[in-house]
Structure formats: structure tokens, C-alpha cells
């Protein structure tokens, strides 16, 4: 079998080998801890920023400061070490921490004193703000659902970036280009791409396009599962998150 189309391995299962960043965030080794916190930050900063803009009605500048302040405080005080998967999902835990943080900040009116304006992390806030303007927030959606929705968007975006990097590194960037043109282009883009038009554009036959796209989609799914694995601590929690994300059982 073609190696590209055999990502499931000889037993055709999804190998989910990533380690949990949340577990690693408790490590005594500062380097391990730092890498883990970067992973958590990458997945959650955008949903956190948008959540503060929507739920707490924070201004653009306030939300930036609060996001920076929250993650800086989380690292400094090692919030994530306190997470217990038996009590709630990590998303719920993080949201609760966020709510508490913002409430404390507002109550004490110490935002500026606590590091307001100080940039601890290099985060693309203008990109997040653009997304916020682009994607309408339905009035009936709860802050919790909104946070989850934005987390899914953030997770898929990270998965796409990883997919692109992997194919670039392995010299098969055509796989990602096909995926980008066929699966990532918005439906309103004209003219609609077809397998035949892609085959023509890339000098392939239609069967190759079908196979490459199938491989890219499988790899995308695999990366998504790896990312969820990174952001959960136990097998049970992982499955619950996947069920919530995809509506299917994955072992």
C-alpha cells in the first residue's frame, strides 16, 4: 500500500501518540513546562481573547491586557497544575479561571498595575479582532458555547498550520495545496473548483487528486486528534472531548 494512504498503519487505527501538554505543564523540568504552556497558549489564547470581548464586554485594549495578564498569571501561579479532570473538562476549568481572573481584576481595579500594557507573549491580537468582526455572534449563543466554538476554530486553524508544515517538510506540498484549494476555500468563491480542474492545474490525473486529497484529510483528522490529546489529561477526557468536537467515538 502507498505509504501516503496508510496513515492508519498496518492495523488501520488512528495512532494518537501526542503527550498531554496539561500533564506536562505540571512537570518539574522548566523546559518541559514551558513547551507545554506554549501548546496550551497556542490553542486557547484566541478563544480566551474573544470570550473576554463578548462575555465581559471588554474593549479591544482591555481584552488584550487581560489575555496577556491571564496567561502570565497562569504561568506564574501554575494554575494548570490545579486542574482535576475528574471535576470538569479543561475548557470549563480554563473558562472558570478566566472568569475569576477578570472579576478580580475589575473588582480591584488593578488591571494596569498588574501588568496592563505589558506584552508577555507575542500574540496576533489584530488577527483575533478581525476574526471577531468577521464572524457574527448570534444573540442566543451562550458565552460557554461561544468559547467552545472559537476553541474549535482555533484548534482547526492550528491543525491546518501543522498539516501545511508537515507536507512542506516532507516535500509533498502539493497535497496541502490541493487540500487548501478544495477544502479550505469558502463556498462563495467562484468558480467552484472540481477534481478535474485541480488535476488540470497541477498536471495530475483525477485519481491522483482523489488520493492526495483523501490522504490530506486523513492527516488532518490525525493532527486534530493529536491536538485534542495534547489538551486533555486522561483517556476518558480525551474521548469526551472528541465526542463533543466530532460527535464520534475514537479510541
Amino acid at each position: 500500500m502507498d505509504q501516503d494512504t496508510d496513515i492508519g498503519g498496518p492495523h488501520h487505527r488512528f495512532p494518537v501518540t501526542s503527550h498531554s501538554a496539561i500533564v506536562a505543564a505540571r512537570s518539574a523540568d522548566p523546559q518541559v513546562r514551558e513547551r507545554a504552556l506554549e501548546t496550551i497558549l497556542a490553542s486557547y489564547w484566541k478563544p480566551a481573547y474573544k470570550y473576554m470581548r463578548i462575555k465581559w464586554q471588554a474593549s479591544n485594549e482591555d481584552a488584550k491586557d487581560l489575555t496577556q495578564g491571564f496567561f502570565a498569571s497562569a504561568i506564574e501561579k501554575n494554575y494548570f497544575a490545579r486542574y482535576d479532570s475528574a471535576k470538569a473538562s479543561f475548557q470549563t476549568f480554563l473558562r472558570t479561571c478566566l472568569d475569576r481572573f477578570v472579576a478580580n481584576q475589575r473588582q480591584a481595579e488593578q488591571r494596569l498595575k498588574r501588568g496592563g500594557g505589558a506584552a508577555h507573549f507575542s500574540l496576533d491580537f489584530s488577527g483575533a479582532e478581525n476574526e471577531l468582526q468577521q464572524h457574527a455572534v448570534a444573540s442566543e449563543i451562550s458565552p460557554e458555547d461561544y468559547f467552545h466554538r472559537e476553541w474549535v476554530r482555533s484548534l482547526f486553524t492550528l491543525a491546518i498550520e501543522t498539516l501545511s508544515r508537515r507536507y512542506d517538510d516532507s516535500g509533498r506540498s502539493v497535497y496541502f495545496k490541493l487540500f487548501e484549494l478544495y477544502d479550505l476555500a469558502d463556498n462563495d468563491s467562484e468558480p467552484k473548483v472540481s477534481y478535474a480542474s485541480l488535476a488540470n492545474e497541477f498536471g495530475l490525473n483525477t485519481t491522483d487528486v482523489t488520493n492526495y486529497l483523501a490522504a490530506a484529510r486523513r492527516e488532518f483528522r490525525k493532527i486534530v486528534l493529536e491536538k485534542v490529546r495534547e489538551l486533555t489529561t486522561t483517556e476518558e477526557e480525551f474521548r469526551a472531548e472528541v465526542r463533543m468536537l466530532l460527535g464520534v467515538e475514537v479510541k
Binding site: 494512504t5 496508510d6 492508519g8 498496518p10 492495523h11 488501520h12 487505527r13 488512528f14 488577527g127 478581525n130 476574526e131 468577521q134 464572524h135 466554538r149 474549535v152 476554530r153 482547526f156 486553524t157 491546518i160 498550520e161 477544502d183 479550505l184 469558502d186 463556498n187 482523489t210 488520493n211 483523501a214 484529510r217 486523513r218 488532518f220 483528522r221 486534530v224 468536537l245 466530532l246 460527535g247 464520534v248 467515538e249 475514537v250 479510541k251
Partner: protein, 358 residues
């Protein structure tokens, strides 16, 4: 990278969820239905250029109990060749590790949807009788369904009746059970090492005493109590009776608590309390099929089918003893045209006699 729109997020979600049919001759068209164990897709068989329905297991673990159960389901249906049971065309494992089977695509409505648009009790009884016949065929082949309900009976475009979803079916005869489970394991686990006693545990998930499988309201009291080992054809008879209850009253039989199903059925209103137009005979057939004690029920789906046929033909039913008045009125009802002719003849005779005397 450009921000993902809501539409693209949903598309990517479907990419991550949809099964990978690339290693098969099928192309996915759309999702038809999603259940706890599997999802049914409309797919195109590219070799034969026809549309089929494909049930795909939701989990990707080919070694799991669910996967074994689904392969068993495919094997069970495949051997039940009957016009009332959807034929299976193919079974296997997808490249992404999910077990699937392809079956005939049935276009039509579920019995509950059909009933919502069709008030005729006769029509409903005919449909149920056809379902009873399919279930009786399965019983004759040593298989009990264990999850009969209106949602698992499909009415095709030409009025054909098909019994679906044999996912929790049980094989009653031990020799056949061994044969089917052994085949199922071999089929879906290519390259996997067989455990020494595997053929004996292939049915373990659904035959363990105390396990409750089925749908509240439609499952028999013994099934609701988890008495898996005691289940036989009469458990399906109860479910068919519960479907009859629904068809007569438009109400689902009550069962809010699985463990209390016995108690619930005692307090369940009789069909005639809900709809007084229902005949006493039809009510009796329904209540006999739904009797709490298995010995008081019809012994088989075939017996129930025969009584439903009697109801349709206005013949006496085994479940109800009529008095002389009821017998006469049933006979009159059945032979209305003949009675009308005789009465018309008598009236004409009287008329002629009276006019002749003048």
C-alpha cells in the same frame, strides 16, 4: 492564514468525522441517520452504479465489542433472506479502521412517520402484519430482534415493509451462534491474532445477564429487567404488541423507568380508554401480545400475525371470546353487502305484496 469561516469549520468537522471510503468501491453521498453504534450514509457503489446505504461504526477500533457486534449484525441480516428484511451486499473494514456494511437502500418512511400521515387502522394493521411475518421468519431461523419499534420498521415507496436495525439481535440456537460469531471475527479483523477462547466470547457483550438493551416502552418486561438469558421469541411478540398499541392509540406505550416496566404496564391505559373506536377484539390482541407473563402471550410472531389477519378479515381472534350479540354484529358488519341485498329484496317483496292487495 485566513480566518476559517463557520462554514469551513463545519466542513472540516465533517472531514474529520466522515468515514474514509477511499479503499472501497463506495463514494459517500450524504449522511442519512446517526445512532449510538453507527451512522448510516447514502453512498454510490461505483462498480455497479447504484446507490446503497452503508452503516459505519462510530468507533475506529476494529477490535472493540461494538465492532464485533456490528459484524455479527451484518452476518445475521445476510442470512435472513426475506422480502421483509433489508439485504446486505457487503461488509468490511475501512482504511480508517471503522467496520462497515453495505445494504440495499430503502426509500420510504418509518412506520411512525407513515402512521402520522395515515389514519386507516386497516392499513396500519396490514403493515404490522407484514412486519410480524418478517420477524416470524427470523424466529424460524433462530434469531430474535430485541429492538422492535416503529422507528425500526420502514415502509418502502411501493408499500413494502422492511424490518431494520438488527444491531442487538440475539441468536437463539447455539450451533448457529457459534457459526455466525466465528465468521464475524474472522471477517473484520484481518491480521489480528485470535485469542484461544475467542469464539466463546464473541457474544459476550450482549448476552451478559443483567444487561439492558432495547427501547423503553417497546421492550418486554423481562428484557427491561435485563434477563437476557430468558429472552425468546415472546420478547419480540411483546414489542410487536407495543407497536400495535402505538398504531391503535397513536401513543407510545408508557415506560418511564426500565426497572419499573412491570409496574408501568399495569398502570398503562388500555387502548380503548384512549380511543373508544378501537374494537374489543383489536384491544384484546394488543393486550395478549403485551401480557406481562410470557406464558400468557402469543407463543410466536406467526400466531400474532394470524390474529391480525383475522382482525383484518373480521374473523374471530384467539385473544377474545365474543358473546352471541358481538358474533352477530361482527357477521353483519363483515357481510354488510349481503345483508343489504337481502333487506332490499325483502322490502321489495313486501312492497309488491302490499301493492298487489290493493
Amino acid at each position: 492564514m485566513r480566518s476559517l469561516s463557520d462554514d469551513r469549520v463545519e466542513h472540516l468537522r465533517s472531514i474529520a468525522v466522515n468515514p474514509d471510503f477511499s479503499s472501497t468501491k463506495y463514494g459517500i453521498v450524504k449522511e442519512l441517520a446517526r445512532g449510538g453504534m453507527g451512522t448510516v450514509y447514502l453512498a454510490e457503489d461505483t462498480e455497479l452504479s447504484r446507490q446503497v446505504a452503508i452503516k459505519v461504526l462510530n468507533t475506529s477500533e476494529a477490535d472493540s465489542g461494538l465492532a464485533r457486534r456490528m459484524a455479527r449484525e451484518a452476518r445475521i441480516i445476510a442470512r435472513l433472506e426475506h422480502p421483509g428484511i433489508v439485504p446486505v451486499h457487503d461488509v468490511g473494514v475501512l482504511a480508517d479502521g471503522r467496520v462497515f456494511y453495505a445494504m440495499k437502500l430503502v426509500r420510504g418512511k418509518r412506520l411512525d412517520e407513515h402512521a402520522a400521515h395515515n389514519d386507516s387502522i386497516k392499513d396500519r394493521l396490514r403493515k404490522l402484519q407484514a412486519a410480524c411475518d418478517a420477524v416470524a421468519f427470523a424466529h424460524a431461523n433462530g434469531v430474535i430482534h430485541r429492538d422492535l419499534k416503529p422507528q425500526n420498521i420502514m415502509i418502502g415507496s411501493f408499500g413494502e415493509v422492511l424490518v431494520l436495525d438488527w444491531g442487538v439481535a440475539k441468536i437463539l440456537q447455539r450451533d448457529r451462534a457459534a457459526e455466525v460469531s466465528s465468521e464475524a471475527d474472522t471477517l473484520m479483523l484481518p491480521g489480528r491474532k485470535r485469542a484461544p477462547d475467542e469464539s466463546s466470547w464473541s457474544n459476550r457483550e450482549d448476552t451478559t445477564h443483567g444487561t439492558i438493551m432495547g427501547t423503553p416502552g417497546y421492550m418486554s418486561p423481562e428484557q427491561a429487567r435485563g434477563e437476557i438469558e430468558q429472552l425468546d421469541e415472546r420478547s419480540d411478540v411483546y414489542s410487536l404488541g407495543a407497536i400495535l398499541y402505538f398504531l391503535l392509540t397513536n401513543q407510545r406505550p408508557r415506560a418511564t423507568n426500565l426497572r419499573d416496566q412491570d409496574q408501568e404496564s399495569q398502570t398503562m391505559p388500555r387502548p380503548r380508554e384512549i380511543n373508544s373506536k378501537i374494537s374489543k377484539a383489536a384491544e384484546a390482541v394488543c393486550l395478549k401480545a403485551m401480557a406481562r407473563s410470557t406464558t400468557e402471550r402469543y407463543a410466536s410472531a406467526a400466531e400474532l400475525s394470524a390474529d391480525i389477519a383475522n382482525l383484518l378479515d373480521a374473523e374471530p381472534v384467539s385473544a377474545y371470546r365474543e358473546n352471541a350479540f358481538e358474533k352477530t354484529s361482527r357477521w353483519l358488519g363483515k357481510n354488510r353487502f349481503l345483508v343489504f341485498l337481502v333487506l332490499a329484496y325483502l322490502l321489495m317483496r313486501i312492497f309488491f305484496i302490499l301493492t298487489a292487495r290493493r
